[in-house]
Amino acid sequence: MVSTETNPSPPPADNAPKFDIELEDVYKTLGQLKVLQGVSFQVRHGETFVMMGLSGTGKSVTLRHIVGLMQPDQGCVKVFGEDLSQLDEKTLKQIRLKIGYLFQSGALINWMTIRENIALPLYEHRPQLKEKEVQERVMEKLRLVNMTQAAEKYPSEISGGMKKRAALARSIILDPEIILYDEPTSGLDPIMGATIDDLVNDTRDALGVSQIVVTHDIGSAYRIADRIGLLFEGEIIALGTPDDIRNHSDPIVKQFVNGESEGPITEILEEKKRAAQNGAPKA
Protein backbone atom coordinates (compact mmCIF):
# COMPACT_ATOMS: atom_id res chain seq x y z
CA MET A 1 0.00 0.00 0.00
CA VAL A 2 3.03 2.30 -0.30
CA SER A 3 2.08 4.88 -2.85
CA THR A 4 4.24 7.72 -4.06
CA GLU A 5 1.51 9.36 -6.07
CA THR A 6 0.11 12.61 -4.79
CA ASN A 7 -3.44 12.21 -6.01
CA PRO A 8 -6.16 12.99 -3.46
CA SER A 9 -5.83 10.22 -0.97
CA PRO A 10 -8.84 8.53 0.58
CA PRO A 11 -10.10 10.10 3.83
CA PRO A 12 -7.41 9.81 6.46
CA ALA A 13 -7.86 6.70 8.53
CA ASP A 14 -6.23 8.20 11.60
CA ASN A 15 -8.96 7.19 14.00
CA ALA A 16 -9.66 3.89 12.31
CA PRO A 17 -7.95 1.05 14.16
CA LYS A 18 -4.92 -0.35 12.47
CA PHE A 19 -5.37 -3.59 14.32
CA ASP A 20 -8.48 -5.68 14.68
CA ILE A 21 -7.28 -7.22 17.91
CA GLU A 22 -4.85 -5.76 20.42
CA LEU A 23 -3.71 -7.19 23.73
CA GLU A 24 -1.67 -4.85 25.87
CA ASP A 25 0.19 -6.27 28.81
CA VAL A 26 -2.60 -8.60 29.91
CA TYR A 27 -2.31 -10.25 33.31
CA LYS A 28 -4.69 -12.92 34.55
CA THR A 29 -4.57 -15.08 37.64
CA LEU A 30 -7.00 -17.97 37.90
CA GLY A 31 -7.24 -19.38 41.39
CA GLN A 32 -3.62 -19.54 42.57
CA LEU A 33 -2.23 -19.85 39.08
CA LYS A 34 -0.69 -16.87 37.31
CA VAL A 35 -1.77 -17.80 33.81
CA LEU A 36 -1.10 -14.67 31.77
CA GLN A 37 1.75 -12.43 32.85
CA GLY A 38 1.96 -9.56 30.44
CA VAL A 39 0.70 -10.90 27.15
CA SER A 40 0.91 -8.37 24.34
CA PHE A 41 0.30 -8.85 20.65
CA GLN A 42 -1.70 -7.37 17.82
CA VAL A 43 -3.54 -8.93 14.96
CA ARG A 44 -3.67 -6.88 11.80
CA HIS A 45 -6.74 -6.64 9.66
CA GLY A 46 -6.91 -9.60 7.31
CA GLU A 47 -4.12 -11.49 9.00
CA THR A 48 -3.94 -15.07 10.20
CA PHE A 49 -2.18 -15.13 13.53
CA VAL A 50 -1.23 -18.53 14.88
CA MET A 51 -0.77 -18.91 18.61
CA MET A 52 1.23 -21.86 19.84
CA GLY A 53 2.40 -22.95 23.21
CA LEU A 54 2.59 -25.82 25.66
CA SER A 55 -0.59 -27.43 26.83
CA GLY A 56 -1.93 -25.45 29.77
CA THR A 57 -0.05 -22.20 29.14
CA GLY A 58 -3.17 -20.14 28.63
CA LYS A 59 -3.94 -20.09 24.93
CA SER A 60 -7.62 -20.76 25.46
CA VAL A 61 -7.64 -18.26 28.32
CA THR A 62 -6.19 -15.66 25.95
CA LEU A 63 -8.94 -16.30 23.41
CA ARG A 64 -11.59 -16.04 26.12
CA HIS A 65 -10.30 -12.56 26.88
CA ILE A 66 -10.76 -11.50 23.28
CA VAL A 67 -14.48 -12.31 23.32
CA GLY A 68 -14.98 -10.83 26.79
CA LEU A 69 -15.71 -14.13 28.53
CA MET A 70 -12.84 -13.26 30.86
CA GLN A 71 -11.61 -9.86 31.94
CA PRO A 72 -7.94 -9.13 32.46
CA ASP A 73 -6.75 -8.39 35.99
CA GLN A 74 -4.45 -5.84 34.47
CA GLY A 75 -3.83 -4.52 31.00
CA CYS A 76 -6.34 -4.14 28.24
CA VAL A 77 -7.90 -6.00 25.36
CA LYS A 78 -9.08 -4.07 22.34
CA VAL A 79 -11.18 -5.41 19.51
CA PHE A 80 -11.79 -3.16 16.50
CA GLY A 81 -10.08 -0.46 18.56
CA GLU A 82 -12.61 -0.69 21.40
CA ASP A 83 -11.42 -1.48 24.90
CA LEU A 84 -13.70 -4.34 25.89
CA SER A 85 -13.72 -3.41 29.57
CA GLN A 86 -15.18 0.02 28.73
CA LEU A 87 -18.11 -1.27 26.72
CA ASP A 88 -21.73 -1.52 27.77
CA GLU A 89 -23.54 -4.76 27.22
CA LYS A 90 -25.13 -3.73 23.96
CA THR A 91 -21.92 -2.66 22.27
CA LEU A 92 -20.19 -5.79 23.49
CA LYS A 93 -22.95 -7.85 21.86
CA GLN A 94 -22.50 -5.91 18.65
CA ILE A 95 -18.81 -6.71 18.66
CA ARG A 96 -19.39 -10.34 19.51
CA LEU A 97 -21.67 -10.64 16.51
CA LYS A 98 -18.66 -9.87 14.34
CA ILE A 99 -16.56 -12.57 16.02
CA GLY A 100 -16.75 -16.26 15.32
CA TYR A 101 -15.34 -18.40 18.09
CA LEU A 102 -14.59 -22.07 17.75
CA PHE A 103 -14.39 -23.45 21.28
CA GLN A 104 -11.77 -26.07 21.98
CA SER A 105 -14.53 -28.38 23.17
CA GLY A 106 -16.85 -27.44 20.32
CA ALA A 107 -19.53 -26.38 22.80
CA LEU A 108 -22.42 -27.44 20.58
CA ILE A 109 -25.81 -27.21 22.28
CA ASN A 110 -26.37 -30.84 23.20
CA TRP A 111 -30.15 -30.94 22.86
CA MET A 112 -30.18 -29.54 19.34
CA THR A 113 -29.29 -31.34 16.15
CA ILE A 114 -26.24 -30.22 14.21
CA ARG A 115 -28.51 -28.43 11.74
CA GLU A 116 -30.35 -26.60 14.52
CA ASN A 117 -27.09 -25.72 16.22
CA ILE A 118 -25.74 -24.06 13.13
CA ALA A 119 -29.03 -22.36 12.31
CA LEU A 120 -29.38 -20.93 15.82
CA PRO A 121 -27.35 -17.73 15.27
CA LEU A 122 -29.26 -17.12 12.04
CA TYR A 123 -32.66 -17.47 13.71
CA GLU A 124 -31.49 -15.14 16.43
CA HIS A 125 -29.72 -12.46 14.46
CA ARG A 126 -31.12 -12.69 10.93
CA PRO A 127 -34.85 -12.87 11.63
CA GLN A 128 -35.63 -11.48 8.18
CA LEU A 129 -34.32 -14.65 6.51
CA LYS A 130 -36.85 -17.14 5.21
CA GLU A 131 -36.64 -20.69 6.54
CA LYS A 132 -35.46 -21.87 3.14
CA GLU A 133 -32.61 -19.36 3.05
CA VAL A 134 -31.58 -20.34 6.57
CA GLN A 135 -31.39 -23.98 5.56
CA GLU A 136 -29.44 -23.11 2.42
CA ARG A 137 -26.85 -21.20 4.42
CA VAL A 138 -26.59 -23.99 6.94
CA MET A 139 -26.02 -26.56 4.25
CA GLU A 140 -23.48 -24.34 2.54
CA LYS A 141 -21.39 -24.13 5.72
CA LEU A 142 -21.85 -27.83 6.39
CA ARG A 143 -20.53 -28.56 2.92
CA LEU A 144 -17.45 -26.45 3.66
CA VAL A 145 -16.56 -28.70 6.56
CA ASN A 146 -17.75 -31.88 4.89
CA MET A 147 -20.52 -32.56 7.37
CA THR A 148 -23.74 -32.60 5.35
CA GLN A 149 -24.34 -36.25 6.07
CA ALA A 150 -24.57 -35.66 9.82
CA ALA A 151 -26.92 -32.66 9.78
CA GLU A 152 -29.76 -34.42 11.58
CA LYS A 153 -27.61 -36.03 14.25
CA TYR A 154 -27.25 -34.84 17.82
CA PRO A 155 -23.79 -33.89 19.13
CA SER A 156 -23.74 -36.97 21.35
CA GLU A 157 -24.13 -39.14 18.27
CA ILE A 158 -21.07 -37.93 16.35
CA SER A 159 -17.33 -38.26 16.80
CA GLY A 160 -15.02 -35.68 18.37
CA GLY A 161 -13.62 -34.56 15.04
CA MET A 162 -17.11 -34.24 13.61
CA LYS A 163 -18.13 -32.09 16.57
CA LYS A 164 -15.14 -29.86 15.90
CA ARG A 165 -16.15 -29.43 12.30
CA ALA A 166 -19.80 -28.80 13.12
CA ALA A 167 -18.75 -26.21 15.68
CA LEU A 168 -16.50 -24.63 13.08
CA ALA A 169 -19.46 -24.36 10.73
CA ARG A 170 -21.45 -22.70 13.47
CA SER A 171 -18.72 -20.20 14.27
CA ILE A 172 -18.61 -18.94 10.67
CA ILE A 173 -22.35 -18.99 9.96
CA LEU A 174 -22.79 -15.24 10.46
CA ASP A 175 -19.79 -14.47 8.21
CA PRO A 176 -17.80 -12.83 11.02
CA GLU A 177 -14.97 -10.37 10.54
CA ILE A 178 -12.81 -12.02 13.16
CA ILE A 179 -12.57 -15.75 13.65
CA LEU A 180 -10.90 -17.36 16.64
CA TYR A 181 -10.17 -21.03 16.26
CA ASP A 182 -9.20 -22.99 19.34
CA GLU A 183 -7.43 -26.04 17.94
CA PRO A 184 -9.51 -26.51 14.82
CA THR A 185 -7.56 -29.53 13.64
CA SER A 186 -6.98 -31.45 16.85
CA GLY A 187 -8.77 -34.76 16.65
CA LEU A 188 -8.97 -34.67 12.88
CA ASP A 189 -7.30 -37.02 10.44
CA PRO A 190 -4.46 -35.45 8.39
CA ILE A 191 -6.59 -35.08 5.29
CA MET A 192 -9.44 -33.42 7.12
CA GLY A 193 -6.87 -31.29 8.92
CA ALA A 194 -5.50 -30.12 5.59
CA THR A 195 -9.04 -29.36 4.43
CA ILE A 196 -9.55 -27.16 7.46
CA ASP A 197 -6.21 -25.45 6.81
CA ASP A 198 -7.41 -24.70 3.29
CA LEU A 199 -10.66 -23.40 4.72
CA VAL A 200 -8.76 -21.07 7.03
CA ASN A 201 -6.65 -19.82 4.12
CA ASP A 202 -9.69 -19.43 1.87
CA THR A 203 -11.63 -17.43 4.42
CA ARG A 204 -8.74 -15.07 4.81
CA ASP A 205 -8.15 -14.70 1.08
CA ALA A 206 -11.77 -14.42 0.04
CA LEU A 207 -13.23 -12.37 2.86
CA GLY A 208 -10.26 -10.59 4.37
CA VAL A 209 -11.10 -11.97 7.76
CA SER A 210 -8.71 -11.56 10.68
CA GLN A 211 -8.08 -14.85 12.36
CA ILE A 212 -6.36 -16.29 15.37
CA VAL A 213 -5.66 -19.97 15.21
CA VAL A 214 -4.50 -21.91 18.24
CA THR A 215 -2.85 -25.12 17.20
CA HIS A 216 -0.34 -27.71 18.31
CA ASP A 217 0.34 -28.76 14.75
CA ILE A 218 3.51 -26.97 13.66
CA GLY A 219 3.08 -28.06 10.04
CA SER A 220 -0.38 -26.62 9.91
CA ALA A 221 0.91 -23.44 11.53
CA TYR A 222 3.48 -22.97 8.76
CA ARG A 223 0.80 -23.52 6.14
CA ILE A 224 -1.70 -20.99 7.41
CA ALA A 225 0.17 -18.39 9.44
CA ASP A 226 1.06 -14.89 8.43
CA ARG A 227 2.64 -14.61 11.83
CA ILE A 228 3.19 -17.01 14.67
CA GLY A 229 3.28 -16.13 18.35
CA LEU A 230 4.68 -18.48 20.94
CA LEU A 231 3.13 -18.28 24.38
CA PHE A 232 5.37 -19.51 27.18
CA GLU A 233 5.14 -18.94 30.93
CA GLY A 234 2.41 -16.33 30.51
CA GLU A 235 4.16 -14.25 27.89
CA ILE A 236 4.58 -14.15 24.15
CA ILE A 237 8.27 -15.03 23.93
CA ALA A 238 8.60 -15.15 20.18
CA LEU A 239 6.64 -13.49 17.43
CA GLY A 240 7.25 -13.46 13.73
CA THR A 241 6.63 -14.95 10.32
CA PRO A 242 6.80 -18.72 9.94
CA ASP A 243 10.35 -18.31 8.63
CA ASP A 244 11.36 -16.19 11.60
CA ILE A 245 10.08 -18.85 13.94
CA ARG A 246 11.63 -21.70 12.01
CA ASN A 247 15.04 -20.05 12.10
CA HIS A 248 14.72 -18.57 15.57
CA SER A 249 17.93 -18.58 17.59
CA ASP A 250 16.31 -18.80 21.05
CA PRO A 251 16.85 -22.32 22.41
CA ILE A 252 13.38 -22.36 23.96
CA VAL A 253 11.74 -21.62 20.63
CA LYS A 254 14.01 -24.15 18.97
CA GLN A 255 13.05 -26.90 21.36
CA PHE A 256 9.39 -26.13 20.93
CA VAL A 257 9.44 -25.95 17.15
CA ASN A 258 11.46 -29.10 16.81
CA GLY A 259 9.39 -30.88 19.41
CA GLU A 260 12.27 -32.21 21.45
CA SER A 261 11.71 -33.79 24.84
CA GLU A 262 15.01 -32.46 26.22
CA GLY A 263 15.98 -28.83 26.36
CA PRO A 264 15.57 -25.53 28.16
CA ILE A 265 11.76 -25.82 28.38
CA THR A 266 11.99 -29.14 30.15
CA GLU A 267 14.61 -27.70 32.50
CA ILE A 268 12.46 -24.70 33.36
CA LEU A 269 9.47 -26.89 34.05
CA GLU A 270 11.58 -29.26 36.19
CA GLU A 271 12.94 -26.30 38.08
CA LYS A 272 9.44 -25.03 38.79
CA LYS A 273 8.29 -28.43 39.95
CA ARG A 274 11.21 -28.64 42.34
CA ALA A 275 10.56 -25.13 43.65
CA ALA A 276 6.90 -25.97 44.24
CA GLN A 277 7.84 -29.10 46.16
CA ASN A 278 10.34 -27.30 48.33
CA GLY A 279 8.02 -24.37 48.88
CA ALA A 280 5.02 -26.52 49.76
CA PRO A 281 5.80 -27.40 53.40
CA LYS A 282 6.24 -23.73 54.29
CA ALA A 283 2.77 -22.65 53.13
Binding site: R96, F103, S105
Partner: protein
Protein backbone atom coordinates in the same frame (compact mmCIF):
# COMPACT_ATOMS: atom_id res chain seq x y z
CA UNK B 1 -5.11 -19.26 59.45
CA UNK B 2 -8.42 -20.59 60.78
CA UNK B 3 -8.79 -18.80 64.08
CA UNK B 4 -11.32 -20.78 66.17
CA UNK B 5 -12.87 -17.58 67.45
CA UNK B 6 -13.38 -15.83 64.17
CA UNK B 7 -13.96 -18.89 61.98
CA UNK B 8 -17.68 -19.24 62.77
CA UNK B 9 -18.19 -15.54 62.15
CA UNK B 10 -16.28 -15.75 58.90
CA UNK B 11 -18.25 -18.76 57.71
CA UNK B 12 -21.47 -17.03 58.71
CA UNK B 13 -20.34 -14.01 56.74
CA UNK B 14 -19.52 -16.20 53.77
CA UNK B 15 -22.91 -17.84 53.99
CA UNK B 16 -24.72 -14.53 54.14
CA UNK B 17 -22.76 -12.97 51.32
CA UNK B 18 -23.20 -16.01 49.09
CA UNK B 19 -26.91 -16.02 49.87
CA UNK B 20 -27.10 -12.36 48.98
CA UNK B 21 -25.15 -13.13 45.81
CA UNK B 22 -27.49 -15.91 44.80
CA UNK B 23 -30.56 -13.82 45.56
CA UNK B 24 -29.25 -10.92 43.54
CA UNK B 25 -28.39 -13.16 40.64
CA UNK B 26 -31.77 -14.90 40.72
CA UNK B 27 -33.70 -11.64 40.86
CA UNK B 28 -31.74 -10.07 38.04
CA UNK B 29 -32.23 -13.25 36.02
CA UNK B 30 -35.97 -12.97 36.63
CA UNK B 31 -35.92 -9.34 35.53
CA UNK B 32 -33.93 -10.09 32.39
CA UNK B 33 -36.16 -13.00 31.50
CA UNK B 34 -39.34 -10.97 31.88
CA UNK B 35 -37.81 -8.35 29.62
CA UNK B 36 -37.79 -10.96 26.86
CA UNK B 37 -41.33 -12.16 27.54
CA UNK B 38 -42.78 -10.53 24.40
CA UNK B 39 -40.41 -12.53 22.21
CA UNK B 40 -42.18 -15.76 23.07
CA UNK B 41 -44.85 -15.16 20.46
CA UNK B 42 -43.17 -16.61 17.44
CA UNK B 43 -42.83 -20.06 16.05
CA UNK B 44 -39.59 -21.36 17.53
CA UNK B 45 -39.95 -19.92 21.05
CA UNK B 46 -43.53 -21.21 21.19
CA UNK B 47 -42.29 -24.65 20.27
CA UNK B 48 -39.76 -24.47 23.08
CA UNK B 49 -42.53 -23.35 25.43
CA UNK B 50 -44.75 -26.30 24.51
CA UNK B 51 -41.87 -28.65 24.94
CA UNK B 52 -41.25 -27.32 28.44
CA UNK B 53 -44.96 -27.39 29.24
CA UNK B 54 -44.94 -31.02 28.30
CA UNK B 55 -41.92 -31.68 30.49
CA UNK B 56 -43.22 -29.94 33.58
CA UNK B 57 -46.93 -30.50 33.14
CA UNK B 58 -47.77 -33.73 31.43
CA UNK B 59 -44.77 -35.64 32.65
CA UNK B 60 -45.58 -34.72 36.26
CA UNK B 61 -49.18 -35.91 36.15
CA UNK B 62 -48.72 -39.50 37.35
CA UNK B 63 -46.78 -38.63 40.49
CA UNK B 64 -49.07 -35.68 41.18
CA UNK B 65 -52.07 -38.02 41.00
CA UNK B 66 -50.74 -40.39 43.58
CA UNK B 67 -49.41 -37.75 45.93
CA UNK B 68 -52.55 -35.63 45.86
CA UNK B 69 -55.00 -38.50 46.35
CA UNK B 70 -53.05 -39.63 49.37
CA UNK B 71 -52.72 -36.10 50.70
CA UNK B 72 -56.49 -35.70 50.56
CA UNK B 73 -56.91 -39.08 52.17
CA UNK B 74 -54.56 -38.10 54.98
CA UNK B 75 -56.40 -34.82 55.53
CA UNK B 76 -59.67 -36.76 55.78
CA UNK B 77 -58.24 -39.44 58.01
CA UNK B 78 -56.67 -36.93 60.31
CA UNK B 79 -59.62 -34.55 60.39
CA UNK B 80 -61.99 -37.46 60.91
CA UNK B 81 -60.30 -38.52 64.12
CA UNK B 82 -61.17 -35.22 65.80
CA UNK B 83 -64.48 -34.65 64.10
CA UNK B 84 -65.85 -38.09 64.90
CA UNK B 85 -65.16 -37.48 68.58
CA UNK B 86 -67.59 -34.59 68.57
CA UNK B 87 -69.96 -36.14 66.06
CA UNK B 88 -69.28 -33.57 63.33
CA UNK B 89 -68.25 -35.86 60.46
CA UNK B 90 -70.60 -33.85 58.28
CA UNK B 91 -67.95 -31.13 58.14
CA UNK B 92 -65.41 -33.42 56.48
CA UNK B 93 -66.07 -32.12 52.97
CA UNK B 94 -65.24 -28.55 53.87
CA UNK B 95 -62.11 -29.44 55.78
CA UNK B 96 -60.66 -31.53 53.00
CA UNK B 97 -61.70 -29.31 50.09
CA UNK B 98 -60.56 -26.06 51.69
CA UNK B 99 -57.37 -27.63 53.00
CA UNK B 100 -56.49 -28.99 49.58
CA UNK B 101 -57.36 -25.86 47.61
CA UNK B 102 -55.75 -23.39 49.91
CA UNK B 103 -52.73 -25.19 51.31
CA UNK B 104 -52.00 -28.76 50.43
CA UNK B 105 -52.72 -28.61 46.70
CA UNK B 106 -50.23 -25.84 45.95
CA UNK B 107 -47.79 -27.10 48.54
CA UNK B 108 -47.59 -30.71 47.42
CA UNK B 109 -47.56 -29.77 43.75
CA UNK B 110 -44.75 -27.31 44.34
CA UNK B 111 -42.69 -29.90 46.19
CA UNK B 112 -43.17 -32.37 43.35
CA UNK B 113 -42.28 -29.79 40.73
CA UNK B 114 -39.24 -28.58 42.67
CA UNK B 115 -37.95 -32.11 43.12
CA UNK B 116 -38.56 -33.28 39.59
CA UNK B 117 -38.66 -30.31 37.23
CA UNK B 118 -36.68 -27.68 39.16
CA UNK B 119 -33.85 -30.11 39.76
CA UNK B 120 -33.87 -31.09 36.09
CA UNK B 121 -33.62 -27.43 35.10
CA UNK B 122 -30.60 -26.97 37.36
CA UNK B 123 -28.99 -30.12 36.00
CA UNK B 124 -29.64 -29.26 32.34
CA UNK B 125 -28.47 -25.68 32.52
CA UNK B 126 -25.64 -26.68 34.85
CA UNK B 127 -24.40 -29.24 32.35
CA UNK B 128 -24.59 -26.64 29.60
CA UNK B 129 -22.65 -24.24 31.79
CA UNK B 130 -19.80 -26.58 32.64
CA UNK B 131 -19.48 -27.79 29.05
CA UNK B 132 -19.07 -24.19 27.81
CA UNK B 133 -22.40 -24.20 25.98
CA UNK B 134 -23.63 -21.18 27.93
CA UNK B 135 -20.38 -19.40 27.11
CA UNK B 136 -20.90 -20.29 23.47
CA UNK B 137 -24.37 -18.74 23.57
CA UNK B 138 -22.95 -15.61 25.11
CA UNK B 139 -20.27 -15.34 22.46
CA UNK B 140 -22.96 -15.74 19.79
CA UNK B 141 -24.80 -12.86 21.52
CA UNK B 142 -27.72 -15.13 22.32
CA UNK B 143 -29.18 -14.50 25.76
CA UNK B 144 -29.50 -17.65 27.86
CA UNK B 145 -32.33 -15.84 29.64
CA UNK B 146 -34.25 -15.65 26.40
CA UNK B 147 -33.41 -19.00 24.88
CA UNK B 148 -33.37 -21.18 27.98
CA UNK B 149 -34.96 -19.50 30.97
CA UNK B 150 -37.97 -17.83 29.37
CA UNK B 151 -39.67 -21.01 28.07
CA UNK B 152 -38.98 -22.78 31.34
CA UNK B 153 -40.32 -19.96 33.45
CA UNK B 154 -43.47 -19.48 31.41
CA UNK B 155 -44.16 -23.19 31.16
CA UNK B 156 -43.86 -23.44 34.91
CA UNK B 157 -46.13 -20.43 35.50
CA UNK B 158 -48.80 -21.97 33.29
CA UNK B 159 -48.51 -25.59 34.33
CA UNK B 160 -47.94 -24.94 38.05
CA UNK B 161 -51.42 -23.52 38.71
CA UNK B 162 -53.06 -26.01 36.31
CA UNK B 163 -51.43 -28.95 38.07
CA UNK B 164 -52.34 -27.42 41.42
CA UNK B 165 -56.04 -27.21 40.58
CA UNK B 166 -55.89 -30.75 39.31
CA UNK B 167 -54.12 -31.89 42.48
CA UNK B 168 -56.65 -30.12 44.69
CA UNK B 169 -59.55 -31.79 42.88
CA UNK B 170 -57.96 -35.21 43.05
CA UNK B 171 -57.07 -34.69 46.71
CA UNK B 172 -60.66 -33.83 47.48
CA UNK B 173 -61.77 -36.99 45.73
CA UNK B 174 -59.27 -38.96 47.78
CA UNK B 175 -60.63 -37.32 50.92
CA UNK B 176 -64.19 -38.18 49.93
CA UNK B 177 -63.32 -41.83 49.45
CA UNK B 178 -61.58 -42.02 52.81
CA UNK B 179 -64.46 -40.22 54.51
CA UNK B 180 -66.93 -42.70 53.07
CA UNK B 181 -65.05 -45.84 53.95
CA UNK B 182 -63.58 -44.75 57.28
CA UNK B 183 -66.28 -42.52 58.72
CA UNK B 184 -69.36 -43.37 56.69
CA UNK B 185 -69.80 -39.88 55.27
CA UNK B 186 -71.89 -40.14 52.12
CA UNK B 187 -70.51 -38.66 48.91
CA UNK B 188 -73.59 -36.46 48.72
CA UNK B 189 -73.01 -34.96 52.14
CA UNK B 190 -69.29 -34.59 51.52
CA UNK B 191 -69.88 -32.76 48.28
CA UNK B 192 -72.52 -30.39 49.58
CA UNK B 193 -70.44 -29.46 52.60
CA UNK B 194 -67.36 -29.00 50.45
CA UNK B 195 -69.15 -26.66 48.07
CA UNK B 196 -70.69 -24.77 50.94
CA UNK B 197 -67.39 -24.19 52.72
CA UNK B 198 -65.19 -23.57 49.74
CA UNK B 199 -64.95 -19.87 48.96
CA UNK B 200 -63.66 -18.38 45.75
CA UNK B 201 -60.87 -16.84 47.77
CA UNK B 202 -59.59 -20.29 48.72
CA UNK B 203 -59.29 -21.22 45.09
CA UNK B 204 -57.59 -18.07 44.00
CA UNK B 205 -55.22 -17.93 46.93
CA UNK B 206 -54.27 -21.50 46.06
CA UNK B 207 -53.64 -20.48 42.47
CA UNK B 208 -51.72 -17.41 43.54
CA UNK B 209 -49.50 -19.58 45.69
CA UNK B 210 -49.03 -22.03 42.88
CA UNK B 211 -48.05 -19.18 40.59
CA UNK B 212 -45.51 -17.74 43.03
CA UNK B 213 -44.08 -21.18 43.76
CA UNK B 214 -43.77 -21.77 40.02
CA UNK B 215 -41.70 -18.63 39.62
CA UNK B 216 -39.54 -19.62 42.58
CA UNK B 217 -38.93 -23.14 41.29
CA UNK B 218 -38.08 -22.08 37.76
CA UNK B 219 -35.86 -19.16 38.70
CA UNK B 220 -34.05 -21.00 41.47
CA UNK B 221 -33.51 -24.03 39.22
CA UNK B 222 -32.29 -21.96 36.29
CA UNK B 223 -30.10 -19.61 38.28
CA UNK B 224 -28.44 -22.43 40.17
CA UNK B 225 -27.78 -24.15 36.86
CA UNK B 226 -26.36 -21.04 35.24
CA UNK B 227 -24.06 -20.49 38.23
CA UNK B 228 -22.75 -24.04 38.26
CA UNK B 229 -19.05 -24.56 37.81
CA UNK B 230 -16.50 -27.29 38.19
CA UNK B 231 -17.69 -30.24 36.15
CA UNK B 232 -20.03 -32.99 37.23
CA UNK B 233 -19.56 -32.20 40.91
CA UNK B 234 -20.61 -28.62 40.27
CA UNK B 235 -23.74 -29.78 38.48
CA UNK B 236 -24.56 -32.07 41.39
CA UNK B 237 -24.12 -29.22 43.84
CA UNK B 238 -26.27 -26.90 41.75
CA UNK B 239 -29.03 -29.48 41.55
CA UNK B 240 -29.00 -30.15 45.23
CA UNK B 241 -29.01 -26.53 46.22
CA UNK B 242 -31.78 -25.81 43.71
CA UNK B 243 -34.02 -28.36 45.42
CA UNK B 244 -33.09 -27.31 48.94
CA UNK B 245 -33.51 -23.60 48.22
CA UNK B 246 -36.85 -24.15 46.47
CA UNK B 247 -38.16 -26.24 49.36
CA UNK B 248 -37.19 -23.61 51.91
CA UNK B 249 -38.69 -20.80 49.90
CA UNK B 250 -41.89 -22.74 49.23
CA UNK B 251 -42.47 -23.43 52.89
CA UNK B 252 -41.58 -19.96 54.11
CA UNK B 253 -43.44 -18.12 51.36
CA UNK B 254 -46.42 -20.47 51.78
CA UNK B 255 -46.69 -19.46 55.38
CA UNK B 256 -46.50 -15.76 54.65
CA UNK B 257 -48.98 -15.83 51.80
CA UNK B 258 -51.55 -17.54 54.00
CA UNK B 259 -50.72 -15.09 56.75
CA UNK B 260 -51.23 -12.07 54.48
CA UNK B 261 -54.38 -13.34 52.85
CA UNK B 262 -56.17 -14.79 55.86
CA UNK B 263 -54.79 -13.13 58.97
CA UNK B 264 -54.35 -9.67 57.57
CA UNK B 265 -57.28 -10.15 55.21
CA UNK B 266 -55.64 -8.66 52.14
Amino acid sequence: MANPLTAPIASMGNFLSSTADQTGFALSLLGRTLLYAPTIFSRRPLRALFRQMWVCGIASIPVTCIVSVFTGAILALNGGISLSKIGQEALMGGIVAVGMAREMGPFMTALILAASVGSAMAAELGTMKVSEEIDALEVMAIEPAKLLVLPRLLAMCIMGPVLTIYASLLGTVGGAITSYYQYGVSYQLFKSNALQELAFKDVYSGCLKAFIFAIVIAIVGCSQGLKANGGAIGVGKATRSAVVTSYLLIIILGYYITFLLYRLQW
